[in-house]
Amino acid sequence: MSSATSVTDPAIEPIVFRWHEAEITAIAPVTPHVKSVRLRCGLAESYRAGQHVDVRLTAEDGYQAQRSYSVASAQDGSGTLELMIEALPDGEVSGWFSHCAEIGDRVELRGPIGGSFSWDGSDGGPLLLGGGGSGVVPLLAMLRRRAQNWREIPAALIYSARTRAEAIAVAELERLAEADPNFSLHLATTREPGGKRIDAPLVADALARIGSPGKVFLCGSNRFVAAASDLILAQGVAPGLIRTERFGA
């Protein structure tokens, strides 16, 4: 084989991933467990929505730790990008961001990584997005990119969160859904009175809003991605349209 090009998978030029210095320019709580971290970095204008970066922290004695985080922002000309970092129990890197990081601190970033899980308007649609918990972050970047230039492309987001308070950027997504007739939000909260997991009617409703999808992106825990894949395939969507990213066991 000589090319990565196919109908469902835009070719990304192989690139050399270098480490870039990045400086924290803003930190803000997003949910009780997730912080938004803005970083000024040379990578800020050279990624596609949906891609992730590796973050590297270095201790005084040279010890290093790396983790991958999806970028939440769409390129906006600010010279910065936004990560949303969930505090994990005993998280070696997320713990530093949660309890220690301050504006002006510096870390290293490398990327952008993950060309097959990425979208830009020229890739077309309609877009069916499914996010579980913090898995919504790369999808948020796609929706922000779409909102910049591509609102004519129909899009639906299926979003499963434990509670409304733990749903990332839910106010922004609801504002977008209200203002944009081509975008619909399908929120399922699993740990609230009257809440539920995503199910066939919810998926059918999302598909009815956008028509036959051209691109499907699913991100979340393995359990969420497996359930969402099965429900979407059961609606007759071709498996080759679906791209997934999973975390956890």
């Binding site: 395939l233 975390f247 066991a249």
Partner: protein, 201 residues
């Protein structure tokens, strides 16, 4: 570049010595793949050895399961930074596949091909000499589809993206030919101990 206030979490010396650089230890078994699990029909399953587009030999599931079995025990390392210790895999060694086909490797490189259109390249030298299996069992059980069952390539001394899930065949190539992730910036070889994650590492 030192990050203010970061101290990190050191591993005990015996654990640290088994962890390649930049890796952390997990008891979980994370799942990473480009799309949904493909549907694999055991009645029509074939494992096919090819040189370029020419088939050399193909095995049905029953034929493949009848080949000599090899068990491997040890540690695995994923480019996404997790490592898992003391795993046990069973399958057919690449040496036994070649022996059953009655050939020596015709070229120095090959591409593993999967049911989900995934591909990854591995040098033949890294597969011979008992270094690699086409694995069909994990911890004594058939490999769960989430982890690549019914059969996955298993090359434990390289990052785990080389151990292609749902493998359907191996294709000898004249040159070292980039696969799915290698076309997207991942390293052509992928040695965890030299931390060859991406092109240029």
């Amino acid at each position: 570049m030192v990050t203010r206030g970061f101290v990190g979490r050191r591993q005990p010396p015996e654990t640290g010595a088994r962890l390649p650089p930049g890796q952390y230890l997990t008891d979980d078994f994370p799942i990473l793949q480009i799309g949904p699990n493909p549907t694999v029909d055991m009645a029509t399953w074939r494992f096919t050895l090819r040189e370029g587009s020419r088939p050399i030999k193909a095995w049905s599931w029953a034929e493949f399961e009848a080949l000599p079995r090899t068990t491997w025990h040890g540690d695995i390392h994923c480019v996404t930074k997790w490592s898992k210790f003391d795993t046990t895999w069973e399958g057919v060694s690449f040496d036994d596949i070649l022996a059953d086909a009655g050939i020596a490797a015709p070229t120095g490189y090959l591409l593993a091909e999967s049911h989900d259109d995934y591909t990854t390249n591995v040098p033949v030298a890294d597969l011979v000499g008992g270094r690699a299996l086409v694995a069909t069992r994990y911890e004594g059980q058939p490999i769960h589809p989430d982890h690549g069952g019914p059969a996955r390539l298993f090359v434990p001394h390289l990052y785990f993206w080389k151990s292609a899930k749902w493998v359907k065949g191996l294709r000898f190539t004249q040159t070292d030919t980039a696969g799915f992730w290698e076309l997207r910036g991942y390293h052509m070889y992928g040695d965890p101990w030299r931390e060859q994650r991406y092109i240029g590492d």
